[in-house]
Amino acid sequence: MLDSPQARATATARAAGTLSPPLAATGQAGRQEAGASALRRLAGAVIAPLRRIDARLFQIVFLGTLLLFGALVRDFALEWEQVALTFAAGLATQAFWIGALDLKRVGYLSAVVTCLGTSILVRADSDWVHPLLAALAMSSKFVIRIRGKHLYNPANLAVMLAIIAVPGAWASPGQWGSDVLIGLWFVALGVTVTTSARRLDIAWAFLACYAGLLAGRMLILGQGEAVLIHQLGSGVLLLFTFFMISDPMTTPNRRSMRFLYAAMVAVLAFAWQYLLFKPHGLIWALFILTPLVPLIDWLLPGSKHAWKPPAKP
């Protein structure tokens, strides 16, 4: 800090007796504060415009990158036709419901996010599965609604249907590998998305609980930390954390309740996977616990999330 030009300039000015006494008296603390506020201004200048952008645009860029990366670098066993049909069906379904219900303020961003999520998480041995799931997931947003919020996160519902109901469909949780560097990259971008979605809290609360449980298991079993790193490096975990459980539309409105909800999902997912030895713990846990959200919102209400920040007066 002292080496910065600004700090040196302040020191020179004080030596020359040109600074007003109160400022000179605060000395180093004052200089730090000035530096910090400059930093804050700089950060504000960069972040503020970003925050005004709809968070779903970040999600789209992020998930799109992920999809490309997965398809190109990590043999994702995904056909481009499947992706194209997913988008065609997802967007058409959204258009249908917008028209049918005469909705004025609903756009297509959420549909794009859902289509990307479905493409990344679901695998199928035919071309019709992805579009079917996208259409069902999008429709669920308009059909399964409680107290003005849709119930299920559409991507979560799509993966669930793939696992339990649709023939020739499955999810491949191991398909990501566990490159920690890639994981960190996911996190970094994910943070950006959730920060601007202003629901960073639930993602971190969930991750802390889940990682804590995994770490506890590792210690009890006497395994090395390589096991924990391997488990945390899962692409599905990161995708789930930053794009599924952090969906502001399908989580409790009140902050404290979001923490509680995140903890419950983490515990159930952990138990599902490591005590009952069933696959897809995260997806199941969220699906099973989702019906609690309207109940929590009814018992302990909070303000509903809006994707677009309110316009300035």
Binding site: R74, D75, A77, R123, D125, P167, G168, A169, W170, S172, P173, G174, Q175, W176, G177, S178, I220, L221, G222, Q223, G224, A226, V227, I229, H230, Q231, S234, L276, F277, K278, P279
Partner: protein, 432 residues
């Protein structure tokens, strides 16, 4: 999975060329069976709901007295749950699912004759080994004790890993130092230990010169292979081939990427020469495994057990499937296998791994994927006719010659990129 404690693995290959058998559309000339990879362990798993049948091939070749097998199992096994299986099942399933070379011949480009085809097959079996013992408790509970075939088996539960290690050592099992650290996670998960060694008297009575595969069945939601334990005494990378027979579809790993090997490309026809295909497959697998940093599971074969195309060997008969542990196919009484779809899917997984690249045991799941896959490589022989047969279609003939030269170059490049072999060297060998 299996751990051959205090044992080195090796496999013997006895290649025999069987008389040619015609196969639909392709012509099978050779295969790269499991015996190629001499550190390879082979496990056969049958999974139906929560029912699991596990068969472990013994390629142990040391003194029978030194042989010991320790496998963590989720439940205490009853005597009826354990048997010795016919080793032939492994040979058959290996032969059926091996990576293969399919050969095609160009027709006269100037008229439109169809392909000709022929077939050849070879197969390979592995070998033998054995043991002895003592008895005393040490925080270790002997849950059951059986003699099955040539094996003496104890089922143990333990509360402390060093207790178990001490018990095993005191009882004459030659287990490597440091085993307790690897055993601990299984004890903490309340798993039991299936421990086998050779009963020399019974082995002499059985008349077999090798150790037959041990097979046991249990019910548990856990669908995994304890591969970590097998690494206690391993130096360097190890190969594991897992055959899974399931009802619904392809089996893949839940905690490591499952990747199909590059396959179905045309390769230079010199791979038909004796030994060349095996050399190619080893080099190719080696390169692919290293490219993926020894941290993925490769799929070598996925097919409905009812048929194959081209067939490296006939599909398993109902009797053979039942020997492997498949309970849901009905015996038709004829003893012959019939071609046609069957509710049995075979997935052949091949893993090359080290302690560091596979920090966790191998988790598995059955998918609803019914798509077939085989590690199949294609040789296309150009038409060797004379230009005189084409005098009325000289233009066609010239175009054909150009296309052959192009595709041979592509085949050489494919081989170079798959194996990392020198492209000039490949071109030279292709010309010879």
């Amino acid at each position: 999975m299996r751990t051959t404690v205090a044992a080195a693995f090796a496999a013997v290959s006895i290649a025999a060329v069987a008389p040619p058998a015609h196969a639909f559309c392709g012509f099978f000339v050779g295969k790269a069976d499991a015996s190629l990879f001499n550190e390879a362990s082979q496990v056969l798993m049958v999974r139906d709901g929560s029912k699991t049948v596990l068969t472990m091939l013994n390629d142990y070749k040391g003194e029978p007295t030194d042989f010991a097998l320790v496998v963590p199992v989720p439940v205490v096994l009853k005597k009826d749950d354990i048997r010795v299986a016919d080793k032939k099942v492994f040979d058959r399933i290996d032969a059926y699912s091996s990576p293969r070379l399919a050969e095609y011949y160009d027709a006269n480009p100037c008229d439109r004759r169809r392909y000709r085809s022929e077939d050849a097959v070879r197969s390979a079996p592995p070998s033998a080994g054995s043991t002895r013992g003592t008895d005393k408790a040490l925080g270790v509970q002997v849950e059951a004790r059986y003699t099955v075939g040539e094996y003496d088996i104890v089922i143990l539960s333990a509360s402390q890993s060093d207790g178990l290690e001490t018990w095993l050592t005191q009882n004459g099992y030659k287990i490597p130092a440091g085993a307790s650290r690897a055993l601990r996670p299984y004890i903490q998960q309340n798993m039991k230990f299936f421990v086998a060694r050779v009963n020399l008297k019974e082995q002499a009575k059985s008349g077999f010169s090798y150790l037959r595969p041990l097979q046991f069945r249990f019910e548990s939601a856990k669908f995994m292979l304890p591969v970590r334990l097998g690494m206690i005494n391993s130096r360097g990378p190890q190969d594991l081939i897992v055959y899974v027979l399931s009802r619904q579809g392809r089996v893949e790993s839940t905690n490591y990427p499952t990747v199909k090997l590059p396959a179905n490309m045309e390769l230079p026809t010199f791979l038909k020469r004796p030994g060349e295909f095996a050399k190619f497959y080893k080099a190719m697998f080696d390169r692919q495994a290293r490219n993926k940093k020894l941290s993925v599971v490769f799929t070598e074969y996925v097919w409905d057990m009812g048929w194959c195309d081209p067939c490296a060997a006939d599909p398993l008969s109902v009797a053979e499937l039942r020997e492997a542990g498949v309970t849901w196919v009905a015996d038709d009484g004829t003893g012959k296998q019939q071609m046609g779809a069957r509710p049995v899917v075979l997935t052949r997984l091949h893993i090359r791994y080290t302690k560091e690249t596979f920090p966790e045991d191998l988790g598995l799941q059955e998918t609803k994927d019914r798509g077939n896959f085989q590690a199949r490589y294609v040789l296309r022989h150009p038409w060797r006719g004379s230009i005189l047969q084409c005098l009325d279609a000289i233009g066609e003939y010239r175009r054909y010659q150009v296309s052959v030269a192009e595709r041979e170059e592509r085949a050489a490049q494919a081989l170079a990129s798959l194996t990392g072999w020198d492209i000039d060297d490949i071109r030279r060998r292709a010309k010879r």
